[in-house]
């Protein structure tokens, strides 16, 4: 890992950490990916744009790196395009970006991840340019990018020599601050946890800045928040973790980082679930995370004698090294200690699960906190995995609750000369019948006991009285009360003075009770006094939700029933019949000897006469069109033109006829 040709001094570690932090992720070769959900989310987040790139170089690198870590298969075309994209950036000597080192750094890493075939001359050129950047810059990030780029180039098999390592180191050193924080560049007075994490030597100091959630989840955050440089807790935490693990790779000594802080960081990353942004996803995956203890099921039934099962895996879901899991403490509600006897869980090699029978623990139904301790079997693993001391898991134990001594009755007064006590079997619906007046009381008692014989206090016990008119009254039976009483005297008004038959229903429920029930007890004939004038009326009963939200009654639309039509044949027959008078008319004309001799024979008058008849025909045709499709206004518009024409032609034609007939007269 040490850069070739450089003097190996302790301070040189700085640069190496800086580079290794990003170039190699220690958990990159995770055997099993986190989960398929992570994979599909990653694939969605890094959807390539049509031209094959993933946006800028940094995003592209994060995409290909994430795909590599998760083992997502990319198609060859996409790889080729990403390679080409990176190669273009490497080859172009004049970068348009404000930070050429950054572009080169990402481009080299992309081609490294994708194993692109890049001309060796290009790498030499890149190395030269990066060296130039190192020489000139005084910004920490620029240094980081250029040194990182050089190391990436070296990983491609090129021989790179940093000529001026000492001055580079001094440049970096100048940015450090005495309190363990770092500045981005010499011009900025602000220090940053992020910057420090990139290069820091005494890493343990970092953990002084760690912040904590209530549940023991740790995260890093920037102390000096600048709106443009704020990285967010995830980025910062991931950077710290990467830096620390990189340091762990190269340093021979053991890092003295408190185990619970490492585990807390792991929980922080896991607790994020599937973060929405690509960057968050990338950071979450590349950060190293230790062993996680989890319970496949947190509910155990005493009835079916469930086994307590514990799964220990790495955060990536792969199998943990050989280890022992001990149950060291069981805490009941209110942190009451039930047992502190240490019990070792059996290990099931096939399913990779640690298990323990819960029956010998003698724990009753309820909610418990189980405290586990993980101990690694092989001492050398302790430097690799963080177990995080004690793990506390909350579990539920459920069981069948025995119901007995259930009885109900009506009593006259508090002293309780109970007139009628009836035993009820709450295993099934009962049908007792009671009767009472407003001076009496209803008594109800039953006893619940857990499988271990203790008295059980359920969360919810309700007694429901339902009148014939569907007015309901719900009484909460205190869980602690052995006997429950309803004094009707004080409830007369609340009952709206409604006498008559009330149905009784008892419901008992608890999260730890497997046989929670709702039983009909029977009915109660209640005799209440007459309602006074101003007595409140019972509220209108809510509509049955099934009818309220159910399908509405179908509306049958009433259209006027179509008139009865005659058969078609009859109508056609009469259509034909109407033609008969016309035929008769024609025959009559022929018998009268009608002719067209009077039709003008001269060209002009005959033309006008013809036009006159054609005009009349046109108007009639227009009427037919009006009947078939035209509206009145269109018809009138055309009719006005036709009318003018017709009047003109008609006048000429008829005046000619008139003149000829007057001539005949005079002649």
């Amino acid at each position: 890992m040490a850069a070739g040709g450089l003097p190996s001094s302790a301070t040189l570690l700085l640069i190496i950490i800086l580079v290794a932090a990003v170039a190699v992720a220690p958990l990159a070769s995770a055997v099993r990916p986190v989960s398929d959900a992570h994979r599909s989310t990653a694939a969605e987040l890094f959807a390539a744009s049509p031209d094959g790139s993933f946006g800028d170089l940094e995003t592209t690198y994060e995409a290909v790196r994430t795909f590599q870590i998760l083992g997502v298969e990319k198609d060859k075309g996409l790889i080729g395009k990403a390679c080409k994209f990176a190669a273009e950036k490497l080859a172009s000597s004049s970068s348009s970006s404000s930070s050429p080192a950054k572009d080169l750094f990402h481009a080299v890493r992309i081609s490294g991840v994708l194993k692109c075939s890049v001309d060796s001359g290009v790498y030499d050129d890149v190395a030269t340019r990066l060296k130039a950047v190192i020489k000139d810059t005084n910004s920490l990030l620029e240094l980081y990018y250029s040194v990182g780029g050089l190391l990436s180039v070296k990983e491609q098999g090129r021989n790179v020599v940093l000529p001026d390592a000492d001055s580079t180191f001094h440049a970096i050193k100048a940015l450090s601050q005495s309190d363990g924080r770092w500045r981005y560049d010499t011009n900025s007075a602000e220090s940053s946890t992020f910057a420090a994490a990139v290069v820091k030597n005494d890493i343990v100091k970092l953990f002084d800045t760690i912040k904590s959630y209530d549940d023991g989840t740790f995260y890093f955050d920037e102390k000096h928040v600048d709106a443009t440089e704020y990285k967010g807790p995830i980025t910062t935490s991931a950077s710290v973790v990467r830096g620390v693990t990189s340091f762990g790779d190269v340093a021979s000594g053991k890092l003295n980082i408190p185990g619970e802080k490492v585990l807390g960081l792991a929980k922080f990353f896991l607790g994020i679930g599937l973060p929405g942004s690509a960057k968050d996803c990338f950071n979450q995956i590349e950060a190293f995370v230790p062993l996680i203890l989890s319970l496949p099921s947190k509910v155990f039934s005493l009835t079916s004698k469930d086994q307590l099962k514990v799964e220990v895996t790495t955060v990536f879901g792969s199998a943990a090294p050989p280890l022992r899991v001990n149950l060291v403490q069981v805490l009941g509600s209110g942190s009451k200690v039930i047992t502190t006897e240490t019990k070792e869980l059996q290990f099931d090699h096939d399913n990779n699960i640690h298990y323990l029978d819960i029956a010998p623990l003698k724990i009753d139904v309820g909610k418990y906190s189980l405290v586990f301790e993980i101990s690694l079997q092989e001492p050398e693993h302790e430097t690799v995995y963080a177990t995080g001391g004690r793990n506390t898991e909350t579990v539920f134990v459920t069981g069948l609750i025995k119901v007995d001594k259930a009885e109900t009755g009506i009593s006259d007064n508090d002293a309780g000369t109970v007139e009628s006590v009836q035993k009820i079997d709450l295993q099934k619906d009962a049908s007792i019948s009671l009767s009472a007046n407003h001076l009496q009381k209803l008594r109800l008692s039953f006893q619940l006991s857990t499988p271990l014989g203790n008295t059980f206090k359920p969360h919810q016990v309700f007694l429901k009285l339902k009148h014939e008119s569907k007015v309901e009254h719900l009484f909460v039976v205190p869980g602690s009360a052995r006997q429950f009483k309803i004094d009707f005297l004080g409830l007369v008004e609340k009952f709206y003075y409604l006498s008559g038959r009330y149905d009784l229903e008892l419901s008992v429920g608890d999260a730890a009770m497997e046989n929670s029930f709702l039983r009909a007890l029977g009915h109660l004939e209640l005799d209440l006094p007459e309602a006074p004038e101003k007595a409140p009326k019972p509220p209108a009963q809510a509509v049955d939700p099934f009818s309220k939200f159910g399908p509405k009654k179908e509306i049958s639309h009433i259209f006027r029933a179509p008139e009865k039509r005659p058969p078609k044949e009859l109508s056609f027959a009469f259509s034909g019949l109407t033609l008969i008078p016309f035929v008769g008319f024609l025959i009559g004309l022929m018998r009268l000897g009608v002719n067209l001799k009077n039709f003008p024979s001269l060209p002009a008058p005959s033309a006008f006469a013809s036009l006159f008849h054609a005009g009349i025909g046109a108007v009639l045709l227009l009427y037919v069109l009006f009947w078939i499709k035209l509206d009145l206004f269109t018809t009138l518009k055309y009719l006005s033109f036709l009318g003018v024409f017709l009047v003109f032609v008609g006048h000429r034609a008829l005046s000619y006829l008139s003149s000829t007939s007057s001539k005949q007269k005079t002649a």
Partner: protein, 114 residues
């Protein structure tokens, strides 16, 4: 009774003779009126059989025929030379009125026909 029948026969015969003297153009108009009224009658019979459902159509059809017949009768009155009242009115003018009235009538009929 035989006498009455023969009387009626005589009456009709004399009526036929007198009508034969009517000018041809008036006969044409008469024929036209008969044609129109007959058509109207057929429609009324149809309505009697199947009912008056598209009542507007029925009215249009019948009124078209009746209206035409009435207009034709008016034309006949004006054209008849025996009517001294319309002596000055030329038959061409009467025909023009007839055509105009028919066009207006049928515009309304078509509008009503639906």
């Amino acid at each position: 009774m035989p006498k009455a029948t023969s009387d009626a026969k005589l009456l009709i015969q004399s009526l036929g003779k007198a009508y034969a003297a009517t000018p041809t153009n008036l006969k044409i108009i008469d024929l036209y009126v008969v044609f129109a009224v007959a058509t109207a009658l057929i429609q009324v019979v149809y309505m009697g059989i199947v009912g008056s459902f598209p009542f507007n159509s029925f009215l249009s059809g019948v009124l078209s025929c009746i209206g035409t017949a009435v207009l034709a009768v008016c034309l006949r009155i004006q054209v008849n030379k025996d009517n001294k009242e319309f002596k000055d009115l030329p038959p061409e003018r009467a025909f023009a009125d007839f055509v105009l009235c028919n066009l207006v009538l049928h515009l309304v009929i078509m509008n009503f026909l639906g």
